[in-house]
């Protein structure tokens, strides 16, 4: 499997994601610089965490206008499989590739801690190895993860089964005590209508090795592996001009 990991100048989880994809899971991984104009030939694209362009204004707002995000629109329109993690999720929202928006955390502060999320949809490339209702323990690290969807958007999300993950407690119950950032309807992750594009605030790449305290995040990457393996092989497309860091 060939996975492209997008690098904005202020990405800071790009190397962590690369490490998991290549060294932990044994797939081919390559960095994709934000000025790239094509994503053809990749089995999946991951937008990693970080502060894409410093994010002094609205997280992901500048990144959403970058050449690679234009390429991502074409890639996703063709059914390309895409995962946005944390800042990557924020970029997908700003780019309109997923519905809704992020506000600053309700507590007004950055939060780095482990949370639980409940799997709400299992027919996506990033959840197909998981069971509905299953609870994962993953770290979060963000200041703007307070997901919001206005009532029509929220109704459409529910109707289209687009909520991928919800914050919950260890038993799987949602509630204010188990919502780390004040997200509307405890939404921690969202999928596109087809499920090919998924974004979530928690960091699966930080919970993919037992040595770091948990392997629940690995299940999300395992899902991708299963999904790609089950898919009919596409013609290998030449990838020209990839800038590798």
């Amino acid at each position: 499997m060939d996975v492209g990991i997008v690098v904005f100048p202020g990405s800071n989880c790009d190397a962590d994601t690369y490490h998991v994809v290549r060294d932990v899971l044994g797939h081919r991984a390559q960095y994709v610089w934000h000025e790239e104009r094509t994503l053809d030939g990749l089995d999946a694209v991951i937008l990693p965490g970080g502060f894409a362009h410093g994010d002094y204004l609205r997280a992901g707002a500048i990144a959403a206008t970058s050449p690679v995000v234009r390429a991502l629109r074409a890639y996703a329109a063709g059914g390309g499989v895409t995962l946005g993690i944390c800042n990557g999720f924020q970029v997908l929202l700003e780019a309109g590739l997923l519905p809704g928006a992020m506000r600053p955390n309700a507590c007004g502060e950055f939060r780095c801690e482990c949370v639980h999320i409940r799997v709400e949809r299992t027919d996506t490339p990033f959840t197909c190895a998981l069971a509905a209702g299953e609870v994962l323990r993953l770290p979060i690290a963000h200041a703007e993860g307070n997901y919001y969807a206005d009532p029509p958007t929220h109704r459409a999300l529910l109707a289209g089964r687009q909520v991928a993950f919800r914050y919950c407690d260890a038993s799987g119950a949602t509630g204010p005590g188990a919502n780390p950032n004040g997200s509307h309807d405890a939404i921690a992750g969202v999928a596109s209508p087809t499920g090919a594009v998924v974004g979530l605030m928690p960091h699966p790449e930080r919970a993919s090795e037992g040595l770091l305290g948990g392997e629940d995040g690995r299940r999300i990457f395992d899902s991708l592996d299963r999904w790609v393996a089950a898919r009919p092989p596409a013609a290998p497309a030449a990838r020209a001009g990839l800038e590798v860091r």
Partner: protein, 746 residues
């Protein structure tokens, strides 16, 4: 070296923050009158902050050599070999004065500055640690400072992608108007690729890389070298941080270094371009020609002096191999940074600064770097006799249960989650032991299964009562913390925070603390590979002498580590080490009786070395399932913390001598003791190890249940302490200081 003399308090500060005699010395060295710009350059370079003129002689007492030392003091940071061809680069620095005036930006730029020192060694920054001191958290004047400092560290560290993996947060009234913000950074580099700041190769271009130069931070080095007096103009001496540019600078610098075209590199930090150009030249025994008109500027109309002294953040100065400058400039521009050739290396040891065609300054870089060194007067402070006369035995013992709950709730002991949950402590995915344990543990992806551990420790209370014992105890505490996670202590960097060295009674405490640190480091065979001194922390009253020790440890196999929490019911609870605890200078005395007094005993260094080896070996060999150092609050607090972290209770019994006070047994400190837990079958192996190292072993009880029960081993059935683990956790929860009512100070 330069003139030896004693600075006297009566001596007046003349121009540019210099002493009158220093201006005379400058005239003598130049053989002429310095012009205004030159005098300003001397002013910053001869500031205490840059020149260490009051501390340099005393610092020579510290051991700097040792096995594995690749770089000792004298470069941007120290470096030690950690095996497999890898070097750990680390350093700690203070940003106390800026954080007092502008807490958010002061702390943020403290993070940025130390990161660039690590970068200047050619290392990728992989972890941050911060050691913070504040006044009482419920003080209206203190709460905004706490909030600003923590927000500043959070904003900068999180964005730049370097995890803040540990540190300490301590409160005492003396830090009310003198907050201490000490930040340590750890980096990783190939041993054979360490960078230098030594200029070389006449004709090689001098390259400016990073953000533009603005009017911020001008005279920052000088302002940090005097007592704060509440002057609102001080704010302009504080720099503004831009973590995004800082992140770009990390990537661009490492990429530039990887080309092999970079001969030398240094951060433009304190004293800005002046310091970088003069230090790089002096280290190489060469000179530089610099044209200020080529320096990228943030605003028009800046004077030559402003450009030379600006401490604008996120800037590096590079010497690049002639003919390969375009490679480096291209990398800088690709990362969206300013990258310009501003001068070249020349043979004569001369810093020739011009602005276009106009000469601005012409100085020997060595004269800027070799500031006068003073031998300040030292005199034992009068207060010592008084505080040491206080005998804790004259205070009535507090009821143990209430005292334990009060200690757990004390700001110094309570859970610091409210601080570290605001820091990204996991980015780079190396953090194996998270904040809240004795020390942070990082795996090295590049050299698996090796790992590194870091701890920062200091106890101002101890140093106030006996700076020499306090210095020793800071080193021992850091080493014990490393041993508890299974790491072998490898090297030290320090941050020495004191009041004015021009006062003999302060300087005496400085010298004593260094003596204590030196003796403990010698006992542990630990080199001090770098450090920082911050004097003049005495706005509205002096701080406790506060040396902070940041210690690096190495784990041969990072999988063999331990954490404080109990792991399994029926595990035995065992105490390693057998010193006699004392209430003198303890947190118990401060919290329960409201006094910092007593007579500290000098620690048994040989015994400490054996205990540290024993605990480390026990963890590394997986003989124990948990390990935790007994520090503030004594063994009762340590046991409670093991219960809280493990979510399990324990039944503990102590042998109590005739006439012995329970408060001394439960809450006494300073004895060198480590609590471990292990399966009963493992006890013989632990005993054998301890016997070989002559470390006392005492079985205290067993893990189990949901309550912590502590009593005498032959005593009546009603124990001293019987508390639910949930009650302990609730007491220790830690209160977030009230945030300021309208916005954080930024």
């Amino acid at each position: 070296m330069a003139v030896e003399q004693t600075a006297r308090r009566s001596e007046t500060r003349a121009e540019a923050g210099l002493f009158t005699a220093e201006v005379g010395e400058i005239r003598r060295r130049l053989g002429r009158e310095p012009n205004r710009v030159e005098l300003a350059m001397f002013g910053v370079m001869w500031s205490e902050h840059c020149a260490y003129k009051h501390s340099k002689a005393a610092l020579r007492r510290l051991p700097v050599a040792g096995r594995g030392v690749l770089q000792g003091p004298g470069e941007n940071a120290g470096a030690v070999s950690v095996g497999d061809g890898w070097a750990a680069v680390f350093k700690m620095e203070s940003h106390n004065h800026p954080s007092a005036v502008a807490p958010f930006h002061g702390a943020a730029t403290g993070v940025g500055g130390i990161i660039r020192d690590i970068l200047a060694m050619g290392a990728r920054p992989i972890a941050l640690l911060d050691s913070l001191r504040f006044g009482p958290p419920d003080d209206a004047r203190v709460a905004p400072i706490i909030h600003g400092v923590v927000s500043g560290i959070s904003a900068y560290g999180n964005s730049i992608g370097v995890p803040t993996v540990g540190g300490e947060t301590v409160f005492a009234p003396c830090y009310r108007t003198n907050p201490l913000v000490n930040v340590a950074c750890l980096g990783l580099a190939r041993s054979d690729r360490l960078a230098t700041s030594r200029a070389a190769g006449p004709g090689n271009p001098v390259v400016y890389l990073g953000a533009r130069t603005g009017r911020d931070g001008i005279h920052g080095a000088s302002f940090a070298s005097a007592e704060l007096a509440g002057d609102p103009r001080d704010r302009s001496a504080v720099q503004m941080g831009d973590p995004f540019t800082g992140k770009l600078l990390i990537e661009a610098s490492l990429e530039a270094l990887a080309t092999g075209a970079v001969i030398a590199i240094q951060d433009m930090g304190a004293a800005g371009l002046t310091c970088a150009a003069s230090e790089m030249s002096a280290r190489g025994g060469l000179g530089m020609e610099i044209d200020l008109s080529r320096v990228p500027r943030r605003e028009d109309g800046m004077t030559a002096e402003e450009v030379l002294l600006s401490e604008s953040q996120e800037r590096m100065l590079l010497i690049v191999q002639a003919g390969r400058e375009d490679e480096v400039l291209r990398i800088g521009r690709r990362w969206g940074l300013e990258a310009v050739v501003i001068g070249r290396v020349i043979v004569p040891p001369r810093l020739a600064i011009r602005e276009g065609g106009t000469p601005v300054a012409a100085l020997d870089p060595r004269s800027l770097v070799d500031a006068p060194v003073y031998a300040p007067a030292a005199e034992e402070p009068a207060y010592l006799a008084e505080v040491r006369r206080v005998d804790p035995a004259t205070f009535p013992p507090a009821p143990p249960r209430a005292a334990l709950l009060a200690l757990l709730a004390a700001p110094n002991i309570a859970d610091k989650r409210w601080v570290y949950r605001r820091y990204d402590h996991m980015v780079q995915t190396n953090t194996v032991v998270l904040p809240g344990a004795d020390a942070a543990v990082l795996r090295l992806k590049e050299a698996f299964p090796r790992g590194l551990a870091l701890s920062a420790d200091g106890n101002g209370r101890y140093c106030y009562l006996d700076p020499q014992a306090g210095g020793m105890l800071a080193v021992i505490e850091a080493a014990q913390n490393l041993a508890c996670v299974g790491a072998t202590p490898a090297a030290v960097t320090d941050c020495l925070n004191f009041a004015s060295p021009e006062r003999p009674e302060v300087f005496w405490t400085f010298r004593e603390a260094i003596e204590g640190i030196a003796q403990a480091c010698e006992a542990l065979a630990l080199p001090v590979v770098g450090g920082n001194v911050s004097f003049y922390n005495e706005a509205e009253g002096a701080i406790f002498p506060t040396p902070v020790i940041a210690m690096l440890g190495v784990l041969a196999d990072v999988r063999c580590h331990a954490t404080p929490g109990w792991k399994k019911d029926n595990d035995l609870v065992v105490l390693l080490g057998g010193g006699i605890p004392r209430l003198d200078g303890s947190e118990y005395l401060a919290t329960v009786h409201g006094i910092t007094a007593g007579l500290l005993r000098r620690p048994d260094l040989a015994g400490a070395v054996r205990l540290i080896e024993c605990a480390r070996e026990a963890v590394a060999q997986r003989l124990v399932s948990s390990a935790h150092d007994c520090a503030d609050g004594g063994i009762a607090v340590a046991l409670a913390e093991c219960c809280i972290a493990g979510g399990r209770g324990a039944r503990i019994a102590f042998a109590l001598g005739r006439g012995e006070r329970t408060d001394r047994v439960l809450f006494g400190e300073g004895a060198g003791r480590i609590v471990v837990s292990l399966s009963p079958e493992g006890l013989p192996a632990l005993r054998r190890l301890a016997q070989r190292l002559a470390v006392p072993v005492q079985v205290l009880g067993a893990v189990g249940g949901r309550r912590l029960v502590i009593g005498p081993d032959d005593g009546p059935p009603d124990p001293w302490i019987d508390l639910g683990v949930d009650d302990l956790a609730a007491a220790a929860q830690g209160r977030v200081p009230a945030p300021p009512s309208h916005g954080a100070p930024r």
